[in-house]
């Protein structure tokens, strides 16, 4: 059975947030909602300093705590490992939001879909917002519509540094499996035993 996953090379990431913008363009997410983004950390004190970037997104955990916590069954895992939310089932309790250790869930409050980025909806927003509902939780979908067409997620395609590699984790010969193996990739907050399908390479 196919299981999709991603490897993110922290040494390659420039912190340009190209992935953040590509994700916004692809999914048309409302204001304040970022399915993916790049966090930055400054380490050390002058002159011994270092800046590290962490691209973050839903980790599509195999033991997803958001799915366990969801009382309505709106959050579910597909056979290919992609964790999705069924809008029509979500009641907006935000149990998934507080259950996700990575805080990669978003809630669409009342009124957000009529605001847009500029106070008035653009034609693009009008079109894209048809996919959303107010009062429900949303999250990264691994660009499932693109993946089903054999394409990679928008954040992977757009990354100019090639920091993101997407593919089949169950295939030992896939690029993502090989790079995780050869670079000794690690999962974020592995101690929570959520078995994320996103790996980091450092």
């Amino acid at each position: 059975m196919t299981r999709y996953g991603m490897a993110i090379d922290l040494k390659r990431c420039l912190g340009c947030n190209g992935c953040t913008i590509a994700c916004k363009a692809e999914n048309g997410t409302p204001k304040g909602v970022f399915y993916t983004k790049v966090l930055e950390e400054e380490r050390g004190t002058f002159p011994m300093t270092q800046k590290v970037y962490y691209p973050v997104l839903c980790n599509h955990c195999q033991d997803a705590p958001c799915e366990e916590a969801c009382p309505t069954g709106a959050t579910y895992t597909r056979a290919d490992g992609i964790v999705l939310v069924e809008n029509d089932k979500c009641m907006g309790c935000r149990a998934c939001y507080v259950a996700c250790p990575y805080k990669n869930r978003y809630y669409l409050p009342k009124g957000i879909l009529s605001e847009g980025y500029y106070g008035k909806l653009t034609p693009y927003e009008i079109e894209k917002y048809k996919e959303f509902q107010e009062g429900v939780a949303v999250k990264c979908k691994f660009c499932v519509e693109r993946v089903e067409q054999g394409l990679e997620p928008a954040c992977v395609t757009t990354c100019m540094a090639g920091a993101r590699v997407f593919g089949k984790l169950d295939d030992p010969n896939s690029e993502v499996s090989r790079i995780i193996r050869s670079r000794n990739g690690f999962q974020p907050l592995a101690e929570y035993n959520t078995k994320p399908c996103v790996f980091y390479l450092d």
Partner: protein, 296 residues
């Protein structure tokens, strides 16, 4: 070796401890009403005080229910919340509340003559046991909801359901004593309740201190969250409302009340206890922090 200083951040794109900011006032209100309502029902049921049991049922089912519905983004879909009892503590809690509403009401009906069922019969006892167990579920399930969340280390503790249970019992005992006096009921069992109240205040104080000490030693996010409660932005409210008003003042007033039986003091005890009860869970929700992801 490069040193790391991880801050508490908001929604900015910076690595750090992120505060939990979705479950706040309304959820805290729902938790509060569920616990005091369930506690009031259980304590009143045990001493066969029908008015207290009815008030507890109304507070827990209607009060808590309305607070939850007001919070939901899609309240019209609330019925779906029972769909996942296999893994979701919210589902289990909702089912518990439904059972509590039905059996709790049936249990009270004979007292008011709304149902011909002799108190003390086998069927009445069976209903009482189910209603009492369901009230217990309503009292503690919030604790399991919080404890089951690995995301927020402050909540992820087996002490959380215990804390919920003893606070619910304390709130229930306080309100039962209050109602007994103010409704002019038979006070034959109230001496025992006053003793229980004093012991519950001591036990709750020990549990709160144990909880803080334990969470301080668990993970870095747990430690940061405890520091938020003790020295950070929530310190004044936590120490003032929860520790001093909710536990210390309530304890001293209860001792005074035992000696004087002053109704004014009883009113202050009830107010102080409810303030402490509300704010401990409100602040535990507010102080929750997510652990930052990190490279090796």
């Amino acid at each position: 070796m490069i040193s790391r200083n991880i801050p508490i951040v908001g929604e900015e794109f910076i690595l750090g401890y992120r505060p939990q900011n979705e479950w706040q006032g309304l959820i805290a209100t729902a938790f509060f009403l569920g616990k005091i309502g369930g506690g009031l029902f259980l304590v009143s049921m045990l001493i066969q005080f029908a008015a207290g049991a009815l008030a507890g049922l109304v507070i827990a089912v209607i009060g808590k229910g309305i607070a939850h519905l007001l919070y939901l983004g899609r309240p019209e879909r609330f019925w779906r919340a029972m769909a996942n009892p296999g893994s979701s503590w919210i589902s289990r809690g909702i089912i518990g509340m439904m059972v509590f509403a039905v059996f709790g009401f049936i249990h009270i009906m004979p007292y008011y003559g709304w149902l011909e069922l002799g108190t003390g019969t086998g069927l009445w006892w069976a209903i009482a046991i189910i209603a009492g167990f369901a009230a217990f579920i309503v009292m503690v399930y919030d604790g399991f909801v919080l404890a089951a969340s690995p995301a927020i280390p402050l909540w992820n503790s087996s002490l959380m359901p215990i804390l919920c249970f003893f606070y619910a019992l304390l709130g229930g005992t306080t309100l039962t004593i209050f109602m007994l006096y103010f409704l002019g009921q038979d006070l034959s069992g109230v001496a025992l309740l006053k003793n229980i109240e004093i012991w519950l205040l001591i036990i709750n104080f020990i549990i709160v201190v144990s909880f803080l000490l334990t969470m301080r030693k668990t993970t870095s996010a747990g430690r940061e969250a405890v520091m938020q409660l003790l020295t950070g932005p929530f310190a004044k409210l936590f120490i003032g409302a929860v520790i001093i008003v909710g536990l210390v003042v309530t304890f001293l007033l209860t001792l005074y009340f035992t000696a004087t039986e002053s109704m004014t003091v009883l009113l202050w005890i009830t107010l102080a206890d409810l303030i402490g009860h509300y704010f401990i869970f409100y602040l535990l929700l507010r102080a929750g922090l997510y652990t930052p992801i990190s490279s090796r």
